[in-house]
């Protein structure tokens, strides 16, 4: 059962920060009083249902909506033809050829994946909208489907986007160091034919949705939505809808999980906006579970082809070259950013300096890929971890020793990677030791004997990962030099209201990360008050003025961007409170004042005390007689801007993220060789995310990410047949972990504060990939005595393990070792 052990290394603190303060969010959520998208209602609103494509690839020859429009209760419809006349195609991040893709909010002339929205139907009830959708007549001329990225550019394969002139969406070559020298210096070259990182996503329990209202008088839309990156949605939607961003107001409150999967709902939001205007009524859209699986934000499926690794006999890794191939699916909603995001962690956790990645992204007739927890780095780190364990396997070296020999050392921090990223802090070897101790690594041999006596196979696997956080959006220029994005930002406002209420607004869109709580901890420490006195508004509202271009909750950054904005705004407020008190106290210098016990006082005579209530009242409602030059509003806005430079586009060189949280996981599995089934019998997760503001929340993220990784490693996959039908469109077929699937978990942590962030924090929400790497390594370890198959796929359900036992040469990965 769930034994949770924590290795204590931190010193107790007297500040709110560093304590597991109970979450402010919980009281409403445990009573069912959260407000999620589908909970909202408006007078005379219409329910939206999408008619979706049954074909993976087909021309649309006709659409007849007449029967649907006559159905009782139907308010109206929207077709691709209308969308094409009312909007422009979405802006493309890609350079040519992907730049030429025309992506609209509904299919125009052609469908490119099963589940693609073709027509939207709005009706008085959910049932009427669904019934009427069945009456929409669409005629198709089916085309062959492209479902395997490896063959997407072959002759005779159908072209998915004619405007792009083929299925190639993006290609770029990354090369750093001196590959020829590295391979000349090597004793051995390990060649790995193919590795495959499979398609899955985090499947948040709440699907996408929105309630969109249109104000005819002002021409302004209010989008109550669970989109987790309104800044991105706005820059996609505004130009497409030919409207200024001031007309698009995004509001979120409670969001039922996001994990990156709720970034790219902008096409559906456009449909809602157009229908709210067309039908002059609020539009309610809640995605059905099957619709989510069919169409939303699959994680990047990636192949690593023709990999060659330069290695010394002692296990010293010198470098590698590989061809990475991303299956982007049918549209480039956030892509091809996955083609560069991985470069945040180019060498993984290792010292090799000579690296070449030839990166290609192609379109296929599958759902579009978009960010998923660990976005693009998880795929690359899985690759580097696979390489480590395959090298160790082939050269008969100890995977622990190979890691320790090659890990970047704590003494080398901050460490500049071959491509100019700067790893801020961390002690990987120490974390590995803690993880190994948690699973009693020294006792593994004895345990192996015991397990084998029961007819089973024991395997131990390590997964080490980095969770790079706080993006430098300048990396987008490595994909497309024409783009004018760089840096990052986040906004917070902190004010004292008329009765002294401390009110905080954020630009973020939390989905369970506890921002209301951790923000209050930071504020309370600066204002010297209780977290209970700090009121953090729930969610996001782009009319709060606490919002900038990169606002949102994604890419492991709140602990840096969000909390640094909170810190900045609160420090401004603290300074203003002192300025005001200085005036009220007749010119006492601000240096002689201090904040304490919910107010400000004179250090030397603490009885001279001005409570926050008095400060708020004076400035907001009783300000006659204050000095003319008193520049105080008690309403402070701060924009945090991390210290970034624009990367060198030619050399593909620069710091792409500000912080690097670290995770080391160790899995112990027992495999039944008769069936291929296996259990995770012991598991340790050790995390280092620098300074932890709320340890309980941090540990919650570690646990959740671990669970998602274990699901992905063992069962979860968006599998397609050769005609492009999704075989796992619901939770029957797409098996996420249930309570009975969870192994015992042991956790530990190290705190290596980031030297680059105002609070020493690092973003840390995505560190789950380590579980996938660890399970792959453990299965491979277990199979050593049964033919020694190489694990080449990131998902290893029981049947695949059984196949690798039955036929290790064919079912396992193809690896050769050659002298250099």
């Amino acid at each position: 059962m769930s034994a949770t052990e924590t290795v204590e290394v931190a010193v107790p603190t007297v500040t709110w920060s560093g304590q597991s303060v109970p979450r402010k969010e919980d009281k409403r959520l445990v009573q069912g009083q959260g407000v999620f998208i589908d909970d909202m209602k408006r007078h005379a609103m219409g329910y939206l249902h999408f008619v979706r494509s049954p074909y993976a690839h087909a021309h649309i020859t006709s659409i007849d909506i007449s029967a649907a429009e006559k159905h009782p209760g139907v308010y109206g419809t929207l077709t691709g033809e209308e969308v094409a006349s009312l909007t422009d195609p979405f802006f493309q991040i890609a350079s040519v050829p992907g730049a030429n893709v025309k992506d609209y909010a509904l299919a125009v002339g052609k469908v490119r994946y099963v589940g693609e929205p073709i027509v939207a139907v709005v009706a008085e009830t959910r049932e009427a909208a669904r019934d009427a959708s069945e009456l929409v007549e669409v005629e198709f001329e089916p085309l062959d489907a492209v479902t395997d990225a490896r063959f997407a550019q072959d002759g005779g394969v159908p072209t998915i986007h004619e405007d792009a002139g083929g299925n190639l969406m993006w290609h770029g070559v990354y090369e750093w160091g001196d590959l020829d020298a590295a391979f000349a210096e090597a004793d051995k070259v390990v060649k790995i034919d193919e590795l495959h990182f499979h398609r899955f996503n985090s499947t948040p329990l709440e699907c996408d949705g929105a309630l969109v209202e249109y104000n005819r008088g002002t021409g302004q839309w209010t989008l109550h939505t669970n989109n987790q990156f309104p800044g991105f949605a706005a820059i996609m939607m505004g130009p497409a809808m030919r409207t200024g961003l001031d007309k698009l107001r995004f509001v979120t409150q409670d969001i039922g999980g996001g994990f990156g999967n709720k970034i790219t709902s902008h096409p559906q939001l456009v449909v809602c906006c157009l229908l709210a205007r067309k039908l002059n009524r609020p539009i309610q859209w809640t995605e059905w579970r099957t619709d989510f699986h069919l169409s939303m934000s699959h994680g990047n499926e990636r192949w690593f082809l023709d990999t060659e690794v330069a290695v010394k006999n002692d296990g010293t890794l010198l470098g590698f070259r590989t061809r990475a191939l991303d299956d982007a699916g049918a549209y480039l909603r956030y892509e091809p950013l996955g083609g560069v995001i991985w470069a945040q962690v180019t060498p993984g956790m290792y010292k090799w300096r000579h690296i070449r990645v030839d990166f290609t992204q192609v379109a296929t007739n599958k759902a579009p890929v978009s960010p998923n927890r660990g976005y693009s780095r998880m795929q690359h780190l899985w690759f580097t971890e696979r390489v480590i364990d395959i090298v160790a396997h082939e050269l008969d070296l100890d995977p622990v020793a190979v890691r320790k020999r090659n890990y970047i050392s704590v003494d080398d921090m901050p460490y500049e990677t071959p491509n100019g990223c700067v790893y801020d802090s961390g002690d990987y070897a120490r974390m590995l030791d803690i993880a190994l101790e948690l699973i009693d690594y020294d006792g593994v041999d004895a345990r192996r004997d015991d397990v084998e006596s029961r007819g089973l196979l024991l395997g131990v696997g390590i997964g080490s990962t980095l969770d790079s956080g706080t993006n430098n959006f300048g990396q987008s220029r490595l994909i497309n030099p024409e783009l004018q994005f760089s840096g990052n930002n986040e906004v917070a406002t902190v004010k004292l209201d008329i009765f002294g209420e401390i009110v905080v607004t954020l630009g973020t869109t939390p989905q369970g990360q506890g921002h209301e709580t951790t923000a209050a901890q930071v504020v309370a420490d600066i204002l010297k008050c209780s977290v209970d006195d700090v009121h953090v508004r729930a969610g996001h509202d782009s009319y709060w003025n606490s919002h900038a271009g990169f606002s949102g909750t994604y890419a492991s950054q709140f602990a840096v961007t969000g909390l640094s904005a909170v810190k900045g705004a609160t420090e401004m407020l603290a300074a203003e409170i002192k300025k005001l008190a200085s005036a009220v106290f007749g010119g006492v210098p601000v240096e002689g004042l201090e904040l304490a016990e919910g107010g400000v006082r004179i250090k030397e005579s603490p009885d001279a005390f001005l409570p926050f209530m008095a400060c708020g009242a004076i400035i907001n409602a009783n300000n006659a007689g204050l000095p003319d030059d008193l520049d105080v509003t008690l309403n402070c806005r701060y924009v945090y801007r991390p210290p970034f430079q624009v990367p060198d586009v030619e050399k593909k060189f620069g710091n792409l993220t500000l912080t690097y949280a670290t995770q080391i996981h160790v899995a112990v599995v027992e495999v039944d060789p008769e069936t291929g089934s296996y259990d995770i019998v012991d598991y340790a997760a050790v995390d280092d995310c620098g300074k932890r503001i709320n340890p309980q929340i941090v540990e919650g993220q570690v646990m959740g990410a671990t669970a998602q990784a274990l699901g992905a490693a063992t069962h979860e996959q968006f599998a397609y047949d050769e005609d492009g039908n999704l075989l796992t469109p619901n939770f029957y077929d797409y098996h996420v972990p249930h309570a009975l699937d969870m192994p015992a978990l042991k956790t530990g942590y190290v705190e290596s504060p980031s030297p680059f962030t105002p609070l020493g924090t690092k973003g840390m929400g995505e560190g789950g990939g380590a579980g996938i790497h660890a399970v792959c390594a453990a299965v491979q370890d277990a199979l050593r005595s049964r033919g020694g198959a190489i694990v080449w796929d990131s998902c290893n359900p029981y049947h695949r393990v059984w196949e690798m036992i039955q036929n290790p040469a064919e079912a396992g990965g193809k690896v050769t070792v050659e002298p250099a």
Partner: protein, 156 residues
Amino acid sequence: MAVSTAKTITVTINGESYEREVEARKLLIHFLRDDLDLTGSHIGCDTGNCGACSVIVDGVLVKSCMMLAVQADGATVETVEGLAEGEQLSKLQQAFSDAHALQCGYCTPGMLMSATALLRANPHPSREEIRKALQGNICRCTGYWNIFEAVKAASE
């Protein structure tokens, strides 16, 4: 002319009696959420897998997306909205917060109803019994470990 399949039903929910006309096809969860605005119970899957819509009907734990509203005619239904006594959280609700057994909170109402049903039937469950009792409820945020802790704590 379509034949109406509407029927008037009377249901007692969290101690309050509701009389409404509903279409025969309407699911209990949609009746609760859309007709009565009791939006604490959630929908996560449409196929009966996720348990976010779990409620207690006449003392029995039910996934309310797997039951028609008309089938609840005359029944007594308990939902998450009825767990707290005024401002006072139930022991289980408090334990969920204390143990950080929720993140986004979307699965939480269903999880609480399953755990409530468990603790009524078995006030001191073993950890294995807790795991079995919650296997019909999917959580994508927590990995369940803290949920097990919370239920255990509430049972002590």
